[in-house]
Symmetry: C3
Subunit: 154 residues, 3 copies
């Protein structure tokens, strides 16, 4: 049933957003399949077909490592994210997989209270039905400016 | 039915947003139950467990008073809000109540045409089913900067 | 069925947003009925009842002309849009028509990587059911500042 599928995908995206925005980073790897891929790219490189991701993680172990280093390195200034996600398009690939495309925008708030439009772009996802996990989540950012972008996952 | 419940909650949030953005402030108290609570807090205070809301209103009478003073005091520069709401998560509390969590962002446009990202954060709500009214709406802002934040309800 | 109707309208808005954000401008006229109207106005003029649209197109032929001149004039700096759409309210007009109101925000990214909040406002639409096409899409911008607003459709 198409309405129900749409709701499930939007619910997954929403839970992902709140986990990051609530600083529950340890839950982040659990949104992916065991060998799931997380990749950040720029629209410019994607359009040119350049396979140069800004970030590339494959598998939960690597995602967990990433969270660990974020927690312990602590080289970045305290900050908070707010994800806004919209325009979710869903397409069935087969019985167990769907693809999803969505627009996003992230507002970043620093400890001094300054809020800025931090990133915008689109999520291009492949999602495993049943368990509702990302088999692949590609974050394609509109801008190639990436100052401290790598601090928290998008 | 879960899909239907989700739609109803998102519809309530959407009607609330349009009422404020259309400057129909007089309708605002009607989105709450008779003793409904409206509270604005900062993420910082919420995280520290400090019970210091920036704004606290309890009951429709108090909400109506607030609208009255906004209409008559007129101490603030003319401005317009635009609410963007996404990532709505809904959970049943019991037969008549649900809780909802959503991300929001407000763009403010001044009379001279200047538009800025005014506020971002999350709504944490308790909603009475049937009548579809807020029993409690907590607006948790990411930033603690609140210049003229109190002008229009968020 | 109300849930299904809501999904269809949100799906239309989402496909429209992705077509523009992916620079598939040639598909844009196809979102409208043969005589469909596309209009950009400012909230200020709408509130005053001034019938002075910033942009007015009637019919697919005129929309195609607009795309042609955008493609060939090329007087504007390369840029990318990102649409965020939320708070979609749907109302049936009759058996074949619905009206829809939605909030939007557009982030614009220039070639040098600079991203700004470009426009915000609301879509006020009349949509033909069955074919799911805009009979009328009115884009009411919060700000009356319109620098290079006319570059890409909103």
């Amino acid at each position: 049933m198409k309405v129900e599928l749409q709701r499930k995908i939007e619910d997954l995206h929403a839970r992902y957003a709140h986990a990051l925005d609530d600083d529950r980073l340890e839950e982040w790897p659990g949104f992916f399949t065991e060998n799931g891929v997380y990749r950040i790219a720029t629209a410019e490189n994607e359009a040119r077909g350049l396979p140069l991701p800004v970030v590339y993680c494959e598998g939960r172990a690597m995602l967990r490592d990433r969270v660990q280093s974020l927690r312990h390195a602590n080289i970045y200034e305290p900050q908070r994210y707010r994800h806004i996600v919209s325009s979710v398009l869903v397409q069935r690939i087969n019985d167990s997989l769907v693809s999803s495309k969505a627009n996003f925008l992230v507002v970043r708030t620093m400890e001094n209270g300054e809020s800025t439009l931090f990133a915008s772009g689109r999520y291009v996802d492949r999602i495993l039905l049943g368990e509702m996990l990302y088999e692949e989540r590609v974050v394609i950012c509109d801008s190639r400016r990436f100052d401290t972008l790598l601090a928290i996952p998008l």
